[in-house]
C-alpha cells in the first residue's frame, strides 16, 4: 500500500519536474538553434541565453492593446501558453512515470495544439488588421494539411503498438523492441515534415522574418506587445521543444526511465534527453541553413507529401502484418 502511495507521489513529483524542465529548456533550445545557425552562416550570433533576456524584458514592458480589441485578444496569450505548456508536459522526456501519463494520448496532444492554433488565429482576426487575417488564413491552410498527416502517423503508431498513449508507446518500444520497421521510417520522415510546418521552421515559415510575403506565425502575433508577446513567444519556443521531444520519445526512446527505476535511471534519462535534444538542435540548424524558404503555395505539396508518406507507412504496416 505504502509502495503504491510513494509511487503515485513520485509520479506527481516527476510531472512537476517535467513541466519545469520543458519550461526552462524551451528558450535555451531556441537560443542554441539560433547560435548554431549563426555559426554555420559565418556570423557570431547572439549569446545562447538571449531568448531568456528577451522574454524577461518583454514581461517588464507595458502591454499595449488596441482600442477595438475584445476580451478574446487579451485572453488568447494565456490560453495558448497554457495549452502548449500542458502539451509539452505530456510528452515523456526523461521518464514515463508521469502522473499525467494515462491522459498523455497522442490524439489529446493534437487537440491541445489545435486549440492553441485556433485561438491564435481568432485573436489575429479579432484585431481587424490586414496582417492578422493574412497570417490566420495561411496558418489555417497549413494546419488543415498538417493535421491529417500527423493523424496518419499516429494511426500507424497506434496499429503497430496497439496504443495511442505516449508513455505506453515508449514502454512498448523499450520493452519488446519493434525493430527497424519500414512503416516507422516512413512515419518518422512524415512526422519530421509535419513538425517543421507546425513549429514554423524554415522551408515553410521563417521565424526570424518580418517580411510580408513570407511570414505566417509572425503575422498573427504582430499586434501583441509586452507580457502578451512574451507569452506568445514562449509558447512558440515550447512548440519547437514539444515537437522535438515528441519525435525523440517516439522514435529514439532509449535512455528514458520507466516506472520502478531508481535515481540512476532518472539521471541517465535526463542526460540522454539533453544529449538527444542537442543533436536534434544541430540537425535542425544544419537543415535550415541548407534549404531555402519555399513559396507559400508550395507548402501544400510539401505537406501533401507528408500525408502520402504517412499513408504509405500505414499501407506497409498492413502488408507486413499480413505476411
Amino acid at each position: 500500500m505504502s509502495g503504491q502511495v510513494s509511487e503515485a507521489a513520485l509520479a506527481v513529483l516527476f510531472q512537476c519536474v517535467q513541466m519545469l524542465v520543458v519550461l526552462a529548456l524551451a528558450p535555451l533550445l531556441t537560443g542554441v538553434v539560433r547560435g548554431i545557425k549563426a555559426r554555420l552562416q559565418g556570423r557570431r550570433g547572439p549569446p545562447v541565453l538571449q531568448p531568456y533576456r528577451a522574454l524577461l524584458r518583454l514581461t517588464r514592458k507595458e502591454a499595449v492593446v488596441a482600442e477595438n480589441a475584445s476580451w478574446l485578444f487579451r485572453a488568447t496569450p494565456y490560453i495558448v501558453f497554457t495549452m502548449l505548456w500542458l502539451a509539452a508536459g505530456l510528452v515523456p522526456t526523461f521518464t514515463t512515470a508521469l502522473a499525467l501519463a494515462p491522459v498523455a494520448d497522442l490524439i489529446a496532444l493534437v487537440a491541445l495544439l489545435t486549440t492553441a492554433r485556433f485561438f491564435t488565429g481568432l485573436a489575429a482576426m479579432d484585431i481587424g488588421t490586414a496582417f492578422g487575417g493574412l497570417g490566420a488564413s495561411r496558418e489555417a491552410m497549413i494546419s488543415a494539411l498538417a493535421e491529417p498527416a500527423m493523424l496518419a502517423v499516429i494511426f500507424t503508431l497506434a496499429i503497430l503498438l496497439q496504443t495511442t498513449s505516449l508513455a505506453a508507446i515508449v514502454d512498448g518500444t523499450l520493452g519488446q523492441g519493434v525493430g527497424l520497421r519500414v512503416s516507422l521510417a516512413l512515419g518518422l520522415i512524415s512526422l519530421i515534415m509535419v513538425a517543421i510546418a507546425e513549429a514554423g521552421r524554415i522551408p515553410v515559415d521563417n521565424p526570424a522574418t518580418h517580411l510580408e510575403l513570407t511570414m505566417v506565425h509572425e503575422a498573427m502575433v504582430l499586434e501583441y506587445s509586452g507580457r502578451h508577446l512574451a507569452l506568445m513567444e514562449a509558447a512558440g519556443m515550447l512548440r519547437l521543444l514539444l515537437f522535438m521531444a515528441l519525435i525523440l520519445c517516439v522514435f529514439v526512446p532509449w535512455g528514458i526511465a520507466q516506472p520502478g527505476d531508481g535515481p540512476t535511471a532518472w539521471a541517465i534519462g535526463l542526460g540522454s534527453f539533453l544529449g538527444k535534444l542537442l543533436a536534434a538542435a544541430v540537425a535542425l540548424a544544419l537543415f535550415e541553413t541548407t534549404v531555402a524558404k519555399m513559396r507559400v503555395f508550395r507548402v501544400g505539396e510539401f505537406l501533401g507529401g507528408a500525408l502520402l508518406l504517412g499513408l504509405l507507412a500505414a499501407i506497409f504496416l498492413f502488408v507486413s502484418t499480413a505476411l
Binding site: 525493430g179 527497424l180 520497421r181 519500414v182 505539396e301 502520402l308 508518406l309 504509405l312 499501407i315 505476411l323
Partner: protein, 222 residues
C-alpha cells in the same frame, strides 16, 4: 537470415522506394539528378547487404556497378549535358506534383495487391522485396509519363531500371549475367539518349518532347 537482416533489407528497399517518391516531387533538374544518385546509393547498399546475407559474392559486383555507374558517372554526365546545353533548369510537368504523388501511392498499393497473392509460397523477404521493386518500376513509368522534359524521362527510365535490379538482388539464385545485361542495356540506352538530347536540342532549341508530337501527326498548332 536473422531478424535484423530482414529488417535492414526491407528498410534499404523502402529507402529506394522513398527516393522514387522524392524523384516525383522534385522540380529542379539538378535536384532531380542528385535524388537519382541517392537512390542508386541506396540500391548499392541494398545489393551489398543482400550479398552479405545470402553469402553471394557476385552481388558485391552488382553493388559496385550500381555505385560506380548509376551513383557517379551517369549523374555527372547528365549534369554536364545540362551545363553544355544550357537548358532551362526547371522540370516541365504534364501534371501537378500533388496528383502525381497521389497516383504514385495508388501504384504502390496496386503493386502490393498484385505481388502478395501471386507469391504466396515464397519467403516473406522475397515477397516484400518484389512488392517494393514492382512499386519502384511503376513509379519510374509514372515519372516517364508525367515529365515533358527529355532529361526527366531519362531519369524515370533509369529509376525504373533501379527497380529491376532491386527485384534481381532480392531473389535468390538470380545469375549475375542477367544483371550485367540489364546494366549494359542501360548504358547503351544512356548513350543513345545523350545523342538524342543533342539532336532534339539542335532542331527545336528545347528538350521539351511535345515538339516531337507534330512528327507523329498529332501535334498541336502553335
Amino acid at each position: 537470415m536473422g531478424e535484423i537482416g530482414y529488417d535492414m533489407a526491407h528498410l534499404l528497399g523502402a529507402s529506394v522506394l522513398l527516393m522514387s517518391f522524392a524523384l516525383l516531387y522534385q522540380r529542379r533538374l539538378t535536384a532531380l539528378i542528385s535524388a537519382f544518385a541517392t537512390q542508386s546509393v541506396f540500391l548499392a547498399a541494398a545489393a551489398a547487404w543482400q550479398g552479405f546475407f545470402q553469402d553471394n559474392p557476385h552481388l558485391y559486383v552488382t553493388a559496385v556497378i550500381a555505385l560506380l555507374f548509376k551513383a557517379l558517372i551517369i549523374p555527372l554526365a547528365l549534369l554536364r549535358i545540362i551545363e553544355r546545353l544550357g537548358i532551362h533548369r526547371t522540370v516541365q510537368q504534364a501534371m501537378g506534383v500533388g496528383p502525381t504523388m497521389a497516383i504514385g501511392v495508388s501504384l504502390v498499393t496496386l503493386a502490393l495487391l498484385l505481388v502478395l497473392p501471386l507469391t504466396a509460397e515464397a519467403s516473406a523477404l522475397t515477397r516484400e522485396g518484389l512488392a517494393l521493386a514492382l512499386s519502384v518500376v511503376l513509379l519510374g513509368l509514372l515519372m516517364m509519363i508525367t515529365r515533358r522534359n527529355a532529361i526527366g524521362q531519362v531519369i524515370g527510365f533509369m529509376s525504373l531500371e533501379n527497380g529491376l535490379i532491386l527485384a534481381a538482388i532480392g531473389v535468390r539464385g538470380m545469375p549475375l549475367v542477367v544483371e550485367m545485361l540489364v546494366a549494359f542495356a542501360v548504358m547503351v540506352a544512356f548513350i543513345i539518349f545523350g545523342i538524342f538530347f543533342f539532336q532534339i536540342r539542335e532542331r527545336f532549341d528545347s528538350l521539351d518532347i511535345h515538339y516531337l508530337e507534330s512528327f507523329r501527326g498529332e501535334g498541336r498548332r502553335e
